[in-house]
Amino acid sequence: MIRVHPEPWATMVAHAEATFPNECCGAMLGTADGDDKTVTFALPLENAYTGGQEDRYEIRPEDLLRVEREARQRGLDVIGIFHSHPDCDAYFSKTDLENSCPWYSFIVLSIQKGKFHHANSWLPNAEQTKAEQEPLEY
C-alpha cells in the first residue's frame, strides 16, 4: 500500500497538468515500513527525454543523485517515481517496464484533456518483465 499525503499529491497533479500534453516526471519522498509506504513530499523533475515528450519521459541519473541527497537532508526516504500518461490510461507500459527499476513504486497519473483523471501505482520486477499493481490511496 502506498499513501500520498494531500500536499505532495497536489504537487504531482499540478506538475502533470502543467506539462500536458507532454509527460511529466518526478520523485516521491516519505517513509516506508516494509510494504506500507507514505509519501510526504513530491519533487517535480525535468523530463530529460530529447525526442517527443508527449509519449516519453526520462530522468537524468544526476537528478536522482540530487533527489537522494535531498531525501537524506530531509530525513526522508526515496519512495518512488511518478510520471504522467497524457490522454491515456494509467497502465504500466512496455516502455515503462523496460526502463524501470524494482526498487521503487511507480505512480502513473492519467491526464485526460489536460485534467487529472485517475492514477495507479506499480511495482516492477528486477527482470523488467512484469509489474504488479500496488494499492494506492490519495
Binding site: 516506508a32 530522468i59 536522482l64 543523485l65 537522494e68 526515496v78 519512495i79 526498487w103 528486477a126 523488467q128
Partner: protein
C-alpha cells in the same frame, strides 16, 4: 576507506545501514567488498552473469563511472560512492 551510500529500498539487504564503509582500490573492488559484507545485495545490483544490472548507475562523488574507467575507476580514502538507478518510460 571509501563509503557507499545505500539507496533506501536496498537498506533492508544491508542490515538497515544507509552507508557502508568499503575497502578496495577500484569501484569494482569496492562493490565486491559491499556484496561480501551483505550478500543479499548482490542479486539487486548484479544480474546472473555478474554484470551490474542495466538500470544501475554508479557515481564516485559527482562523476558517473561510465565516463571514467567503469569498474576500474580508482577510488581514494574519503570518496563517496552512490548507486543511482536509470529511470525512463512512456505510454507506448
Amino acid at each position: 576507506m571509501a563509503k557507499i551510500l545505500i539507496p533506501t529500498p536496498l537498506r533492508q539487504y544491508a542490515e538497515k545501514n544507509n552507508s557502508v564503509d568499503v575497502s578496495g582500490a577500484t569501484v569494482g573492488e569496492a562493490l565486491a567488498s559491499l556484496t561480501t559484507q551483505f550478500p543479499d545485495l548482490r542479486k539487486n545490483l548484479f544480474n546472473d552473469e555478474g554484470k551490474l544490472r542495466s538500470f544501475v548507475n554508479v557515481y564516485v562523488n559527482d562523476e558517473d563511472i561510465r565516463y571514467l574507467q567503469k569498474d576500474a575507476t580508482a577510488i581514494a580514502d574519503g570518496d563517496i560512492i552512490s548507486i543511482v538507478p536509470s529511470i525512463a518510460g512512456g505510454l507506448c
